[in-house]
């Protein structure tokens, strides 16, 4: 039997019965637990440095869990944190994740949930540890080259962090959960993970859970046998069989019906399935990547996404930042898209005017890169010239004011 490493858990919880319960939950696991009741004691314990993970209640007597995260960030203390939040406090959990928490648990939770959350976290940390660049930096990290991460353009800090997670996650089989608004490149991220990993020679099969009618979805994933339903005139492989050895990308996971989520959970656990109407159990070897443009915690809270499925998939989370959080990248992406569209449309466009650059930077891009792509394509198709000027911009960009500095220059 392999030796299991004992991890030290710092539990920060002021309600004693809850703390005792959590300690008991972890008793037969490879964890030692140190319990403190206040944020101040937690920070002191961190200073002593013996902490592999902190389980942090958000509501503490002397400060909030968010304050603890903020102090950790200010002082450079680097212990992965799983926040414990009350049911219905999803916003707090999201705030905590943005403040640096690695994961969250919603009260009440049982022993299994706690152990899965910790196991997922340590799996993710082990993956990251294999890549020194992804560790907490004691020196400035070298900027990841976008071209090394398939298909992405941009070197903003937000994207640097995405590239590092993609590169760290790629060699592993751990499940990845990608969140982000529409048009931020979630599918591109899934492809990048697949292409950069050992499964690159096998297929990546994408399935959009929002686009397939509910009654066909099971067959789309697991396939069917002839006669399984009217219209099933031959045996047909589903995405699971087609992706064998490769990656199954489940886009818009939150739109999957709950009945099927239960079947998917079983499939995730043992990677075996029966095609619709079939009796034979088929076994496959898959890596799972899921994505959603919704807030998964809210979907769990609303009962539209199974919590156990979420935990099973949420091993390596990736947040794709919206374009408005990537101001530095907007122009690089626009230039790249302009060159590509000009080539395709056989047009001479080569640059953006300074006014257009300023407008692009100022605009909030609700449709993200996809919207930028459409804007550029529109300009290239509808206009002539080498330089894109404000007059060429389509709606709604043609309604935003040219930044004042350019008006003054005239």
């Amino acid at each position: 039997m392999s030796e299991v490493e004992t991890r030290h858990v710092l539990l920060v919880e002021d309600t004693l019965p809850l703390a005792k319960s959590y300690i008991e939950f972890l008793k037969s696991s490879p964890y030692t637990v140190e319990h403190v009741e206040t944020g101040r004691k937690a920070l002191n314990a961190l200073k002593r440095g013996e902490c592999d993970v902190m389980l942090l209640d958000i509501n503490l007597p002397d400060m909030s869990g968010l304050d603890v995260l903020a102090r950790m960030a200010e002082t450079g203390m680097t212990c992965p944190v799983v926040v414990i939040t009350a049911h219905g406090s999803i916003k707090l959990a999201v705030d905590a994740m943005r403040a640096g928490a690695a994961d969250f648990l919603v009260k009440p939770f049982n022993a299994q949930r706690l152990k899965i959350a910790l196991a997922n976290l340590f799996e993710r940390l082990a993956i990251e540890a294999e890549r020194p660049a992804s560790r907490v930096e004691t020196r400035p990290p070298e900027p990841a080259q976008p071209e090394t991460v398939t298909g992405f353009i941009g070197s903003s800090p937000a994207m640097q962090s995405v590239y590092r997670v993609i590169e760290a996650a790629a060699p592993s089989k751990a499940s990845v959960f990608i969140t982000g608004e529409s048009g931020t490149g979630k599918e591109l991220a899934a492809e990048a993970i697949h292409r950069a990993g050992p499964r690159r020679d096998k297929p990546i099969i994408a399935l959009n859970c929002a686009a397939v009618p509910r009654e066909l979805m099971e067959s789309e994933i697991f396939g069917h046998v002839k006669g399984a339903f009217s219209g099933a005139v031959t045996d047909r492989d589903g995405a699971a069989a087609l992706a064998d050895g490769g990656t199954l990308f489940l886009d818009e996971l939150c739109d999957m019906h709950l009945d099927l989520q239960a079947k998917l959970l079983r499939f995730l656990q043992d990677q075996s399935f029966r095609p619709v109407g079939g009796t034979e159990l088929k076994k496959v070897d898959l890596r799972f990547i899921a994505a959603t443009n919704k807030e998964p915690l809210e979907e769990v809270a609303e009962g539209r996404l199974r919590e156990d499925l979420y935990y099973r998939l949420h091993v390596i989370p990736i947040y794709m930042p919206p374009l408005r959080e990537r101001e530095e990248d907007v122009i690089d992406i626009a230039q790249h898209l302009l060159a590509a569209a000009s080539l395709e449309e056989n047009k001479p466009f080569a640059r953006l005017s300074e006014e257009v650059k300023a407008m692009f930077r100022a605009y909030n891009w609700p449709g993200n890169v996809r919207q930028l792509q459409n804007v550029i394509r529109n300009i290239v198709v509808m206009h002539e010239g080498e330089t894109v000027t404000p007059e060429m911009l389509p709606a709604p960009l043609n309604r935003i004011a040219v930044p004042r500095v350019f008006k003054a220059v005239g």
């Binding site: 019965p17 005792k20 009440p108």
Partner: protein, 120 residues
Amino acid sequence: MAGVAHLASEAAGEDTLGPLRDHLDPKAFREIVELYETTVRDRADAIARAARTGDFDMVRRSAHDLAGMCGQLGAARATQLARRIEGACAGGKGHDALALIPELAPAVAETLRALAEIAR
């Protein structure tokens, strides 16, 4: 009716103490159940006391603790009331909190009865 089963049956949540009973020796299990009993009673008393003096911050904090514990126990009614009291205090609606507090006592009493049963 077994206490844990009873508590869990009225909840949307999970039976979290049941597996602990299987996992712990009887003495340790009884200690943890007694700790819940003591603390649930203490927080319920604290809510009543703080409400009498108009200390709604204390009402909110105690209601938060109570909700967390009752949620963990699967005691749905007490959890729900405690959360509503906490929310009312957080939203500056002390009158709403005061109106809910009398309903809390029987829900907490029910939770304590069930806990006493399983501690036996």
